[in-house]
C-alpha cells in the first residue's frame, strides 16, 4: 500500500489539483470534517501544499471531545466529587478538558470514588460487574463511529441486568451538524471531505441531502495523504462539471450501505434528540439518547441530572469559532500563549483530533492566519 504515501504520486496529484483550480473562477474551500483527516493534512504538510495548489482546507466539527459542551464534563465532575463509592469511567482525552470546575483529571474524587480511564465501553461494563458494591458511570462520548459500541454495551448490561452500570451519553450525529453549517452559511464551503469511519457505519445515503439540497459536492476519504488528495481531486471534478455528488475514495473500508449490524443496534437502543453542540449551538435531531425502556442505564435519569445548556462556556475560549471553520486556530489570541497542549484552555487544544492541538503540534502557530 506504499502508493498511499508515495511522494511522486503526491506531486502528481497536487499538479492535477492545481490545474483544476486554475480553471475555476472562484476560490475553493474544502472542509475536512474529521479530526483525523486534519491530522494527516498537517502531518504531511498538505495544508500549505494545497494552498499553493489553490485549495483552502478548513477544519470542521469532527472531534467529539471538542464539540461536547462543558456542562456535560461538569456533570461528570460533580458525580465523582460528590458521591462516594463511585467510578466515573471515561476515554482518556475527555478527562483533560478544562472547565470552570477544573477537569476530571484535576478533580478530587469523594472518598472511595475514582476516575478510571478506559479504552472501550465494554471495559467500563466489566468494571461494574467486577465491583458490584460501586456505582459505575461511563461518560459515553462519540460520533457514529463509537455509538454502536456504546449501544451494544448498554444492550449487554440490560441483558445481564447489571444494576450498578449506567452511561452519561453525549452521542453526536455528523450529517445534521453539516446541515447546520450549510444553513448558517458563514463558512462558504465549496466541498466536504466526509469522515472515513463515520461513513463505515452510516454509509453514503445520509450525506445525499448535501449535494441534492445545497449543491455542495463531497468525497469520503481515507486517512493516508494520497487518499486525501485523490478525494479532493474528485471534489474538484464535481465542482468543474457542475455535478455535485458523493465520491467514495475509501472503498476499501466503506461500503455504500455502511455497517448494517451497527445500524441495527443503534436503532434498537437509541432515538434522536435535539442536541447542543459547542460552537454550533442547538441542532435538531443531531444527537442520540437511550430509549425510555433503557432509562435505568441512562445516568441523566438515574441521578436526576439537570444540565443547563451553555452554562459551562469558558470566557475567552474561541473553540466554538474554530469548530465552525470561522477562524483558524492561530487567530485565537490564546493560541500558543495561555493555551497550549501542556495547559489547554479549551478542548480543541486537548484532543489529538482537535484543530488547535494539531496546528500547535505541526508548527503552524507562527502564521497570522
Amino acid at each position: 500500500m506504499k502508493e498511499l504515501r508515495d511522494g511522486s504520486i503526491t506531486r502528481a496529484l497536487l499538479g492535477k489539483i492545481g490545474r483544476k483550480t486554475s480553471g475555476l473562477d472562484r476560490p475553493v474551500r474544502i472542509m475536512e470534517v474529521c479530526g483525523t483527516h486534519t491530522m494527516t493534512i498537517h502531518r504531511y504538510g498538505l495544508k500549505s501544499l494545497l494552498e499553493e495548489a489553490g485549495v483552502d482546507m478548513v477544519s470542521g466539527p469532527g472531534c467529539p471531545v471538542c464539540i461536547t459542551p462543558n456542562e456535560l464534563h461538569e456533570a461528570c465532575i460533580d458525580l465523582v466529587t460528590k458521591r462516594r463509592n463511585f467510578v466515573l469511567a471515561s476515554f482518556g482525552d475527555m478527562t483533560r478538558v478544562p472547565t470552570g470546575k477544573g477537569s476530571l483529571q484535576s478533580a478530587v474524587p469523594a472518598p472511595s470514588s475514582r476516575v478510571k480511564i478506559v479504552y472501550s465501553p465494554e471495559e467500563a461494563l466489566a468494571l461494574a460487574e467486577g465491583n458490584p458494591a460501586q456505582e459505575v458511570v461511563f461518560f459515553g462520548v462519540g460520533f457514529e463511529t463509537t455509538i454502536p459500541a456504546i449501544a451494544l454495551t448498554v444492550k449487554r448490561a440490560a441483558e445481564k441486568r447489571v444494576p450498578n452500570f449506567s452511561v452519561l451519553t453525549a452521542l453526536w450525529l455528523i450529517p445534521p451538524a453539516l446541515r447546520a453549517i450549510l444553513e448558517a452559511g458563514e463558512t462558504a464551503v465549496s466541498g466536504f471531505l466526509y469522515p472515513g469511519h463515520v461513513s463505515a457505519i452510516i454509509g453514503l445515503e445520509p450525506y445525499r441531502f448535501i449535494s441534492e439540497e445545497y449543491g455542495v459536492p463531497g468525497a469520503v476519504a481515507g486517512f493516508e495523504p494520497n487518499d486525501i488528495l485523490l478525494a479532493i481531486s474528485a471534489v474538484l471534478d464535481q465542482i468543474t462539471e457542475g455535478r455535485p455528488g458523493i465520491y467514495l475514495e475509501y472503498g476499501r473500508v466503506v461500503t455504500p450501505r455502511g455497517n448494517p449490524v451497527a445500524q441495527a443496534v443503534m436503532e434498537e437502543m437509541l432515538e434522536p434528540r435535539d442536541a447542543l453542540w459547542r460552537g454550533l449551538g442547538r441542532i435538531p435531531r443531531s444527537g442520540l439518547g437511550l430509549k425510555d425502556k433503557y432509562c435505568t442505564y441512562d445516568a441523566r435519569t438515574k441521578y436526576s441530572l439537570s444540565l443547563k445548556e451553555g452554562s459551562g462556556d469558558l470566557p475567552g475560549c474561541r473553540c466554538g469559532e474554530v469548530l465552525r471553520g470561522l477562524i483558524s486556530p492561530p487567530q485565537c489570541p490564546l493560541f500558543g500563549k495561555k493555551c497550549g497542549p501542556d495547559s489547554p484552555f479549551g478542548p480543541c487544544m486537548v484532543s489529538f483530533e482537535g484543530a488547535c492541538f494539531i496546528y500547535h503540534k505541526y508548527g503552524r502557530g507562527k502564521e497570522s492566519g
Binding site: M1, E3, L4, D6, S8, I9, R11, A12, L13, G15, K16, C34, G35, T36, T40, F91, D93, Y119, S120, P121, E122, E123, G142, T145, T146, P148, A149, I150, L152, P195, G196, H197, A200, I201, G222, F223, E224, N226, D227, L230, E249, G251, R252, V253, V254, T255, N259, P260, V261, A262, V265, S351, F352, E353
Partner: protein
Amino acid sequence: MCLAIPAKVIQIDAAGSGKVDYLGTKVKVDFSLLDNVRTGDWVIVHAGFAITKLDEEEAQETLALLREIAQAQGE
C-alpha cells in the same frame, strides 16, 4: 481518536470476541458488530470493537488509480 491503520484478525472465539495483531501488538477485540469475520481478515478497530472489514479488491482499485495518475503525470 480514529485509528486509521488496519489490524489483522488472529483469533475469534464462539462468543464473538478475539484478538487482532495491530502493528505487531496483540489486542483484544470484540467482533460482534461485524458479520462473517474470519481469521486473516483485516479490520478497523474503534473503542475495542471491530467496526468494518477491509476489502482487498477495492484497495487494489484505489492503488491502481493512484499509479495511473503518477504515470499520466510522468508522460
